[in-house]
Each structure stands twice: as C-alpha cells, then as structure tokens.
Amino acid sequence: MNPIFVLFKKGVLLFTRNKAAVIITFLVPIILIALFGFVFGLYKNVDSGPGGIPLAIVNLSTEPAATDLIAALKLEKSFRIIAETKNADGSMRPLTEADVRAAIHNNHYRFALILPADLVSDDALGIHLKFLSDPRNEIETQMVNGLLQKTIFSRVPQLLGQSLQHHSKKFLGDARFETFNRTIADTVAANYGGDREEIYQRLISGDFGFGSLTSSSKTTTASTAKPGDEKAAGAADIFSRIARIETEQVVGKQVSNPMAARLVGGYAIMFLLFALSGSASSLFEEKRSGIYQRILSAPVRLSHILWSRFLFGLALGTVQVSALFLAGNILFGLDLFSHAIPLLAVILSAAAACTAFGMLLAAVSTTPEMANGLATLLVLLMSAIGGAWFPVSMMPEFIQHFSKLTIVYWSVEGFASVLWAGQSLMEILPTVGILTGIAAGVMALAVWCFKRSAMFD
C-alpha cells in the first residue's frame, strides 16, 4: 500500500476516534448555522405560507411578454402569485397599483411586481419593471429580489428578445429591419464597445444577453450599472444594462443583505478553515511524540506525509462543507441538488485552498500555540473581509480590494454564484480556477517552508 494512503487512513482513523474533533467539525457549525437562520429569518416556511412567499402582480402591459413573465413567475415554487382582488360585490378583478400599495402598507403581503404599460417602451430598448417592497424581513426581501431576477433573466430573456425582434420586423418591414438592427448594433458598439457583427448577430437571434445578468450576482438591479464606464467590457455586459427594474421600497429604508447561500457558504468556509488549521496543529503533536522520526526512518518520504495530510484535509473539508450545505438544504430549503456538480467543484476547490492554508500555517509556525494564534487571527480576519458574515459590498471600497485576496471571498462568491445565481459548471470555472490556483500556490509555499522548518527534523 502506498504510504500516502496508509497515512491518509491513519488521519481518518485518528479523526473519527476523536469525538471532540468530530463534534466541533460537524455538529457545532450546523447548530450555529441553524441559530443564525433564526436570527436572519432564513427558515423557508417562516412567514411565507404554504404556497411560498406572496407576490402581488399588477399587469398594466399588453405585451405578450408580460403574460409569459407572469406564467414563469407562477412556476417559481417559492412564490405565491396574487394577481386579483375581490370587488365589493364579491366578483374578482385584476389588482391595481393602488391596491398593492395599500395592501403592502397594511402588511397583507410585502412584495409586489408591477409590469407597467411601458414594459417595452418605444423610446427605449429593453423592459421596465417596478418592484414594490416592505423589507420588514431583510433577508426575505433580498431573497425575493434574487428570485425575481432569476426568473426574469433566466426564464424569459429569449422570449423577450424574440418578441422584441418580432415586433420590430412587423413594424419596420424586412429591409428596414436589417438597417434598424445594424444601426442599433453600431450604436451599441460605439457607445459601449464590443464587436458590431457579433452584436448584430445576437440582436437578430433575439439574444439580448439577459442571461448574463443572472451571473453577476452583485448587480441587484440592472439600473444601478453606470453605462459609459468600462467601455472595454464585453458585449454581454452591455446588453445586461438594457433591462431596467425600478425598485421602490414602500416601507422602510434601503437594505442589502446576504442570502441563505451566502450565509451557509460563508460560515461553512470559516468553520472549515478552523477545522483544518486545527488539524494542521496536530502536526506539532506528532512531531513532539517523535512519530515523524519513526515514520521517516521507514521507507517514507516527507512528500508522502505532506500529501497524505493534504488529501485528508481535502476529504475532511469536502465532507464538512457538504454536511453544512445539507443542513442548509434541510433547514432553509437551499436547493443543492439541481446544482450538484458545479457546487461540488466549488466545494472541492475551496477545501483544497483551505487545506493548503492550514498547512502553510503549520509550516511557518514554530509552536502549536503560534499556529493556533495565527489561525484564529487570520481565519476571523479573512472571514470578516472575505464576506462570510456580511456581503463584501457593504464594506468600504479599500477593504473590498483586500477581500479578493482571501479564500473566503472566492469560496463565498462561488457558492453564491452556483446556489443563488444558478451558474453552470462552465460558468463557475473561473472561480474554481482561482481557488485551485490559490490552493496550488499556497501548498507549494507550505512545502517550501516545511522543508526549511524544524517540523520534520
């Protein structure tokens, strides 16, 4: 049997026999996440009623796209769509904006989507929506916001684009239709950059790139993007600026808060970092006992020891984070299974990066106390600025620069992109790549430091 495998099995055996370690690694984080769920009101069923979160819809538009959008929203399990209200005589009629404003004020429900008459306006390319909310429950508001975006941009973009093109063609006639699209492509390219021909082709096919909106999870509303800057941005980004959602909070002030995916992901990574730096400090215990003398006097290389440690950390991390997400699934209805593969990719790469971090800590420390002290300091710091506790966007800009240097940031981004924005494996690859890169770099540094340290002397 390969020494790496023998030592890996040893690690698993030691871990499973250590009840305190098992409890701290699995039970404590799950309990804490469950508690935080209460604090942030993440529980799926709290206040949302049996049919999901009530969402009132006022349709003032005559566009077929509006009907499609409402149909898509009705399919979204998390929403319970309310579109009608009772007249005084008991007969039903469609809701009006005045109805929903009153209802939100009276706390009958907290969210309403208005599809205005100018859903698709003549003077502007794109769609216009109005979102009314009472962000009494901040997390819920954020969740509804996210769900709306997801539905709008993932379910109807093609439809919307095609219907727009269809309208144009009917209105303009074939020849002028081409000129129209060419002109738009030219204008877009001139104003925002990008390739004319590519933009033109995509216009023709009705692809307005709305899908890409769902991938930029930070963009709460498309209207917040400032056109004009970042001219070099790709065509997809430009198209994402075309959709406009006007948000209006009917009650309370502006809020922005993390979602369940962020919360669970952030805490999972924080606990993983703690677990792995804890397991790294067990290196010191083995050193003190003289076990490394025994092992290294056998036909075993230092690299065997280090790789077995790495594999063990990777396995432990993967199991721990998966367990926490599973808890998130059970507690908050976090949808894992439709994103299993991209999620696993993020979990693996995040676990690898965290393991490497733990090993580097052990490699640069001279005592277990130093390793533990450094671990506590760095893990808390990384968790804070990396967005494990609150979204990075809430922090001052100069701190946000540092956020991107942390494993926590990329892990949480990865989890949010997969679980919230529903990114595919291909879409998530850059984030996975960054985490894997961090893992490889930090691990190389750790090995380099170990070879110079007294750990295996």
């Binding site: 023998v6 076990i291 003398q293 025994r294 006097s297 036909p299 290389r301």
Partner: protein, 305 residues
Amino acid sequence: MLTLRSVTKRYSTLTALDGVSLDIAPGEFFGLLGPNGAGKSTLMSLAAGLRSPDSGEVLLADGALSKANLTARHTLGLVPQTIALYTDLTAEQNLRIFGQLYGLGGRDLQTRIDEALESVQLADRRHSVVQTFSGGMQRRLNLVASLLHRPKLLLCDEPTVGIDPQSRNAIFDFLEKRNREGLTIIYSTHYMEEAERLCSRIGIIDHGKILALGSLDELLTQLPFEDEIVFPETPVTATFSAQLSAHGQLDTVDGRHRFRPRPGYPLSVFFATAEQSGIATRLFEIQRPSLEAVFLHLTGRKLRD
C-alpha cells in the same frame, strides 16, 4: 553493518557530534553510553538516515545512507527515545499502520502483529488505546513497533527511560533474545548498569566525542586502580586516613573517604592497619571498578548528577 567515518554534525553553532568514527559488526550488541546532551540521539538519527552529516559519512551495510534511498530503510529499525506512537489508537492499530508503511499487509502482517504483541506480553491489551497503557507497556510497544519489518539493525535510543524494573527486565530479555537470533543492536543509555549487562562492546560518548571504545573489560583496564574502598570521615578515621596517602590515592568527598590502593598494596595490610586504629571493619565498602568510575576517570564528571 554500520560504519561512521569522521562524522560531524552541527546544530547551527553547537557541535553535537565531533568527528565520530565507529564500526559496528553484524550481530553486535553495541552500547552507546553517555550523559544528557552527549550526542546519542543525534548519532542515532544519522544512523537511521533522518539527518545527513555535515562532514564524514555514514555507511549502512557498505552502502551510503541517504534520504533518497528508501530501500535501505528496510534494513534498519529505529526505536525513538520518545513514545513514538499514536496514543489515541489501539496497540494493534498502531502496529498495523507502522507495518503497512513498510509495505506489509494481509495475513503476513497480522501474524507479525500477533507475534510482536505476544513477545512483549501485550497480546491481551491489543485492543486498548495506547494512552491507557502504563509507561512500561508503552515502552514495550514502542520497541516492537520498530521490529515488524524484521530489520537487521535495531537502533534503540534509551528504550527504558522512566519504567519499572519489571518492564525493564522484560525489555532486556527481549533484546538479548533477538540479539542471539542475529539482530545487530545499537543501544544508547545513560545507565551504566544497562551497558554493563547488555552490551558486548561499549562506546563512551560525551560532548559529541567517543572517549573510549571497547568491551567492558577493556574499558575497565583503562582505570589506574583495581578496587576502591569507601569509608566515612570521622574523628576516629583521621589519623588512619593520613597514613593511607602513602599507599595510594585518597579523596575525601562529602564526608566520605575514597581510597584507591596503588597496585600491589595488599588489602590484608589495609585491614590490619584499620584494626590497629580501632576502626570497625563493617564501615568499609569495597567497590569493584565500574563504568561509572571509567567515565569519572575520563571526564572528571559523574555520568549522572
């Protein structure tokens, strides 16, 4: 079996081994006797290939020992000075892991584990966690854990530190039996009685240097006296001890006289003189020459303080 040629090893400024040359023949039971910090463990780690010498060379069965050469490691077993075991695991789990690191497995490994546990009377505790073992039991397990792969050379670094006489004797018997079966053993200790009892050849090491090398008898001949007579310092012995200086060396330390008669001075004369001085003979202790005395003679210090 093992050869060290002018081996020097430094830890930054401290020279732990200073030009050590040694030649251990197959089948030898070699004792490395020295006080704390003498360099015993350092020598062991070089012999086990854990460290490389700063100068000189270490040869194992004629081949240079290096970190890269993994096959050579099957030839040797190291019993570290510490309890190098996973104390959270059972005796059997420990042995299995260490056996597997040598590529052992299956039935063969199981048989070896059974034999090993049997040989140090731990068979009935095989499923106990090592943490629950007494110091002596841990030492015995620490010892057999290094023998599963049946090495030709065993490096034992102070394997009896802090244990009861019973466990100590069990370890002695075990090692002597293995040595008779052909195992070459290098045994480091700071107990001269251990070296005297076990070892066919002894090296006395201090401050990284081998001060003397040879069988017990050879080492004892280095002493300029044969016997040593110790007796208490009292007013009665004052004139008597003054007379003795003419017949040998007399030291008075901590209220005790130590008299080393010049070769040829008959003890009968000594006792007759004592009787005339009115000193009871029961006050005299005759001490045989020992490694302790050799060490004292070589270094001017006691082996242990």
